[in-house]
Symmetry: C2
Subunit: 205 residues, 2 copies
DNA sequence: AGAAAACTTGCACTTTCTGCAAAATTTCCT
DNA sequence: AGGAAATTTTGCAGAAAGTGCAAGTTTTCT
């Protein structure tokens, strides 16, 4: 349904990837996405500015495209796992299975993170993507818990899981040599299990 | 420091409020903030378009201005409470003390929430403000827990607290007759205390 | 091959947002 | 009160985003 392998589909995917990569390249080169125009990106990818806007609504979306891809896959993973595992474990394992560390070059990840943290427009866009992630996952979680719309529980668990994911991810990017990403994620989830709300002893764990 | 009561200061505050209110009025009238231009807002408030941009970077900021004010106050409240209370309680009580229900007309709140949920630009902007709130509070929480930058714990607790706040707020807006806002917030925080990660019995609580 | 469907492109247009410099207003000091 | 100094308002110019439309290309399907 999504990717029939006709010439047309392949070309579109290639163009989209080219635009996304061009955005990244230029943003790094010019030291920030704000110094890059949609026209620059289109030129770098060899298409017209109008075509760029056919693929992405704006440059932020182009830069964060792959992150978006991964969350889409994660939604599917959560749905499948939630059928066979307790919810919390399903969420945790789906997050671990994102395997950001294996799919991307570490330097590139760090680079992209720097770009995001230094541009309000990117921060804003990333926050929005996270919200979309939340909303898409919410239906699954609500169903899995057997609660209704009337109940806060689904949103609270899901929120906790996504916070754990985000914090783990950031921590790993800042301290990559400390532990592998999957362990960091597991650790973050574990802290919620043992009760985040109680002040813990300051054993660095 | 912030508000000396010279004529100039008072006028500026008045203009800012007028612009914010004008934005709200027009957004409701035209059924969405996207149908309102910065020029419309300036005209409604009786200033030039250029002046509007001296006060706010964009219309989204103008519409969400009061929410921003409140989070600024809440940061202060958290800082003070964190000196005298256990962290989790400090966060909870500071959130309860925001008293959104008393400060605003309920219909207006619901209206504004509808506006936000139906406009990508507003969703994006609100998400960004939430992130700023997070970052400002993070320093306080980190200090209060006696943990260092190296540790995920501060971000996890704070994340949990802000999720609780946001979820409670949304729930109350959707079901206002069920319980007063402060109780809903307390309830959300309580669910984190009793362990969100374990599936609970479906007693609607 | 040739019609139909889908994609690309250029163009026109509205809107946002910023810098700059001139005018207007408020404040401050004597 | 009066005038210099500081601050604010405003208009104008300009870069860039983003969208609709229609014409031109390319791919698909039979």
């Amino acid at each position: 349904m999504a990717d029939q392998s006709g010439l047309r589909e392949r070309k579109k995917a290639a163009t989209k990837a080219a635009l996304s990569h061009a955005t990244m390249r230029l943003a790094i080169e010019k030291g920030g996405i704000d110094a890059v125009t949609a026209e620059d990106i289109a030129a770098e990818a060899g298409v017209s500015a109008r075509t760029f806007h056919n693929y992405f609504p704006n440059k932020e979306a182009a830069l964060l495209h792959d992150f978006n891809e991964i969350t889409a896959q994660t939604i599917v993973a959560i749905r499948e796992r939630a059928r066979e595992q307790p919810l919390w474990e399903a969420l945790r394992d789906a997050c671990i299975d994102m395997r950001i560390d294996e799919r991307f070059d570490f330097a590139t990840l760090q680079c992209k993170d720097d770009l995001v943290h230094s541009s309000p427009s990117l921060i804003s866009h990333q926050a929005t993507q996270f919200l979309e992630f939340f909303n898409e996952a919410l239906d699954i979680v609500t169903e899995a818990t057997g609660r209704d719309e009337h109940d806060m529980y689904p949103r609270l668990v899901l929120g906790a899981a996504l916070i754990a994911l985000k914090v783990a991810h950031e921590h790993w990017l800042a301290h990559p040599d400390e532990a592998p990403l999957d362990e960091v994620i597991a650790d973050a989830f574990e802290q919620f299990e043992s009760g985040v709300t109680r002040p813990t002893t300051t054993s660095n764990n």
